[in-house]
Symmetry: C2
Subunit: 190 residues, 2 copies
């Protein structure tokens, strides 16, 4: 018996199944409704500055997928909290970095670039005069965020530059932070 | 001996020390530099769609305060991950909800309103044609987010409505999501 080429073996780069990814792209191209995702987080106040976010699932292509996660959030003692968990501003940066990380891993994978290292460090300033209601002319949040991406792998700098542009052009949380998202509240007094 | 009024007893509402909060407001009014905060998160790729965010401290009034937290992020299996942790879009919603929760607790505290319950549920849709690079005209992230705040405590509906307006007007992460934040990247190829 001679060796037979395993034509069914999936192509995996950076741990990402590239065949599946191209399959998803093709599927959504054929039927955009397959690419509709819905995200939901329910947060309950835990006293003082603490809260717990509960996730019970997400929607994709009209189907609900059950998954359970809890995220605990607090504030530093200096801002009235008990410092048991990271604070909301840090979670926002973690969310941004994580989304871009998926972007780099995937954009490299589809180009056949194997990553050896990827780090993103993000930093920003917030002037408390906004949150404390001292001066309405002061921005309440980040006016800007600077971030440094350190990347290493089997590609030329110009290929990494192309990946970098692609991540900025497609990352959902890059979009969510860089662009205005319309917030539509409903207040229910019980 | 007769009972002596404890004039030094701090005023605590919703677990929040209101004296400290008013003290901070006064301090920042006198010297805005005391209200300068700096937030930093360093994320390292953990393979596939996983990442770990590390927090080592934050800055306030020019001082660095050490604190250590790790935040793990993943993607659902349907999006190429291993579903071990919540995903970046969910962390963003948790960050938004947590920040507004602090806002409601604090805005109620300074008005002497004792909260009995506070829940915020947030939901939004993302069309994967953006992330997958299928159609550049499609928004990559949330175009809008709807959220429901359920609040209960010893105040009239109009007082809660005033608190609700104050939270929207001052919450840092409400600002960060509702407004464009300038993202300034630096790519370092190693």
């Amino acid at each position: 018996m001679t060796a037979v080429a395993k034509t069914q073996e999936p192509t995996v780069v950076n741990g990402i199944n590239v065949d599946d990814l191209f399959g998803l792209i093709e599927e959504v191209k054929q039927d955009p409704a397959k690419g509709a995702t819905r995200w939901r987080v329910a947060t309950t106040w835990q006293g003082q500055a603490r809260s717990r976010a509960e996730i019970t699932g997400f929607g994709i292509g009209g189907e609900q997928v059950d998954r359970r996660f809890s995220i605990d959030v607090d504030e530093p003692v200096e801002l009235g909290g008990t410092n048991r968990f990271a604070n909301p501003q840090e979670y926002l940066l973690a969310a941004l970095n994580a989304c871009m990380t998926v972007g780099y891993a995937a954009q490299c994978a589809v180009r056949g670039i194997t990553l050896e290292k990827l780090e993103i460090e993000t930093e920003g300033d917030i002037d408390l005069r906004g949150f404390l209601g001292i001066d309405p002319a002061v921005a309440n949040g980040y006016e800007s965020l600077k971030y440094t991406v350190r990347i290493k792998g089997d590609a030329k700098p110009e290929q990494f530059a192309e990946v970098h542009e692609a991540v900025m052009a497609t990352s959902p949380n890059f979009y969510n932070v860089a662009n205005p998202v319309a917030l539509k509240p409903d207040l229910v007094v019980e």
